[in-house]
Amino acid sequence: MSEFWLDMLVVVLRCVFSVAFVMNIVPLMIWGERKGAAYIQDRPGPNRAPIDLPNPADLPRLLSAALRGEPLDYKPVVSLRAAGLIHTLTDVVKLAFKEDITPDHVEKFYWFIAPVIAMSIALCTFAVVPFGDSFLGYNLQVSSLDGGLLFVLAMTSLGVYGIMLAGWASNNKFSLLGGLRASAQMVSYELAMGLSAVVVFLSAGSVSLAEITRQQGEALSIFGLVEIPALNWNVFSPFGLLAFILFWVAVFAETNRTPFDLPEGEAELVGGYHTEYSSFRFALFFMAEYANMIVAAAVTATMFFGGYNVPLFSGAFLRENADMVLAVLGLGAIPAFLGLAVVAWKRRGRPFYAAIPSDDPRRNEPAFFTAVWLGAAAAHGGLGVAGLMGGLTGLSALVGVEGLGADLLVFVLHVSSLGVKVLIGGWIFIWVRWTLPRMRYDQLMNLGWRYMLPIALVNVFCAAGWIILRHELFA
């Protein structure tokens, strides 16, 4: 019986972890989008919404004022802006408290479930993405489906139902056009996407994402001459690279991101499929877009960039040398912090953004932006957790569970590794959005059907030939 409950607990923990992994990156992506767009366009970006912390001495006065229902006026000791991160929080508060308008002319049932479908499908897709090799013998994957990649393809095609239903149920020509565009786009790019995924099936001999990732953790051999450990990534094979480019372009179309964001083309379609939505229903669509991007980046990382694998260090290697790895990580933190201190010292008194007053902490925002994006994975996996690891190694000796500390270390490193890859993918989504203009609809269809589909087809055959050839020559 206790075995059963332990298994149930593990299932729940996996689900919570995978949802938390996606939903934690969503605000980071929204912030990165706003701030990144601003820096690309020579602007400072959002930097106003603060959390004003009052002087503790004022608290009794403020509390009594709050109880009497009077406005709170105080001089804040600290105005926490976190370089615009608070804007995301204020957005959520605003959207949650806005009036939720249901227009009279909508098809109520479908209109209500459309945002739910969009959001839940986006989160479901992450269920088959492995985020670590194993933890005390448990798979680190919500569902270890054998047909993992097929599940991903199925789910991404279901994802368009949210948009289509929203567009149709809104009973409004702009929304309907947005929904139609989304479905047409989905149909055209799914083929190229599926065909480029076939290249990965062929080289892995399996459609299970866990198996694909495990194989990418093996050593990369270049014509049997040189072996690079834990770098057998699919992107490093000639046809894998082409498959990756095709897949990545198709992913942009599937997630409705610029240059393929025609379903919400605001210039001609007002707001596209979410024109009629307000309040938290709109927030669900908004979050679903970012969740989709994160999941798409995670799937791409898993298929082509080794998933959770740390480049050059295989899971087995990390497990065997857990103490050494921990020491290197700990020692590596010292020069990193020293470097930060040196940079901070050198930057003191530097001329800054002239339009911001000199004593304003907002002048540090670009540094904060860079630091967060570069250090986000460390924050996500938790450098602090890595510090705890030493204690946990000792704890495992006390509790008597064999290899708990080493497993925990490898888990953190693997999640961080996946996190870095996801964030790089997410940043490329943002970067491309603020670089490229939206494509015209006929250009979109041309690219999908007349270029990407034939290239993907030829690529599958060439990849198959290459795999046979490689097998004959080097094995």
């Binding site: 820096y39 690309i40 020579d42 602007r43 339009a355 007053p357 907002r362 002048r363 603020w434 690219l447």
Partner: protein, 192 residues
């Protein structure tokens, strides 16, 4: 008739998009990196904290000018409501008895919701009684009636000062609050 220029034929690398996309991405990333290291490149002004200095010829909210003795320069000649293309100036003229000017505006209202800030009223004025040199551009109110600037309001608009601050400045300088030095010289029927 000039023939349209033939469309430029794209080279292979251009028509495959990939190279051009990468070039564009390098450009935007360059901007991002430069901006992160040098915030002086930002073109934005942190508006409520920092304000753009307005040039001398900027046309902001209207103000009414005073004679050295404190009376209004305006003689209600009706030039400005006549020339106003938006028909936003409303003057009710009155006869002044104890005032050097024989005519004065009992009311002088400008509906700022209709005003198009063309500055014709300033050009038309023979007495230099109205100017738009306050450099005030935040003209807002909670009600439509508050958007109608009255004589008393416009007299107290100083250079860049809203009426409250303008009134305080007037009191400090010993100037009359509404353009008249004292109650005796104020003509019958003029609002205070």
């Amino acid at each position: 008739m000039a023939l349209p220029k033939p469309q430029k034929v794209l080279t292979l690398s251009e028509s495959s998009y990939l190279v051009e996309v990468l070039k564009g991405m390098v450009l935007t990333m360059g901007h991002l990196i430069k901006n992160i290291f040098d915030q002086d490149r930002f073109r934005t002004i942190e508006y409520p904290d920092v304000r753009k200095p307005m040039t001398a010829r900027y046309r902001g909210a209207h103000r009414l000018l005073l004679r050295p003795d404190g009376g209004l320069k305006c003689v209600a000649c009706m030039c400005c409501p006549t020339v106003c293309p938006a028909k936003c100036i409303n003057i009710v003229a009155g006869e002044a008895e104890n005032d050097p000017a024989e005519k004065f505006p009992i009311t002088f209202d400008i509906d700022m919701l209709r005003c198009i800030y063309c500055g014709f009223c300033v050009e038309a004025c023979p007495k230099d009684a109205i100017r738009m040199d306050t450099k005030i551009y935040e003209i807002n109110a909670y009600t439509r009636s508050d958007m109608v600037h009255s004589k008393a309001y416009m007299v107290n608009l100083m250079d860049g000062l809203k009426p409250e601050a303008g009134a305080a400045y007037r009191a400090e300088q010993g100037l009359a609050p509404d353009g008249y030095t004292n109650a005796d010289s104020a003509p019958e029927g003029s609002p205070r």
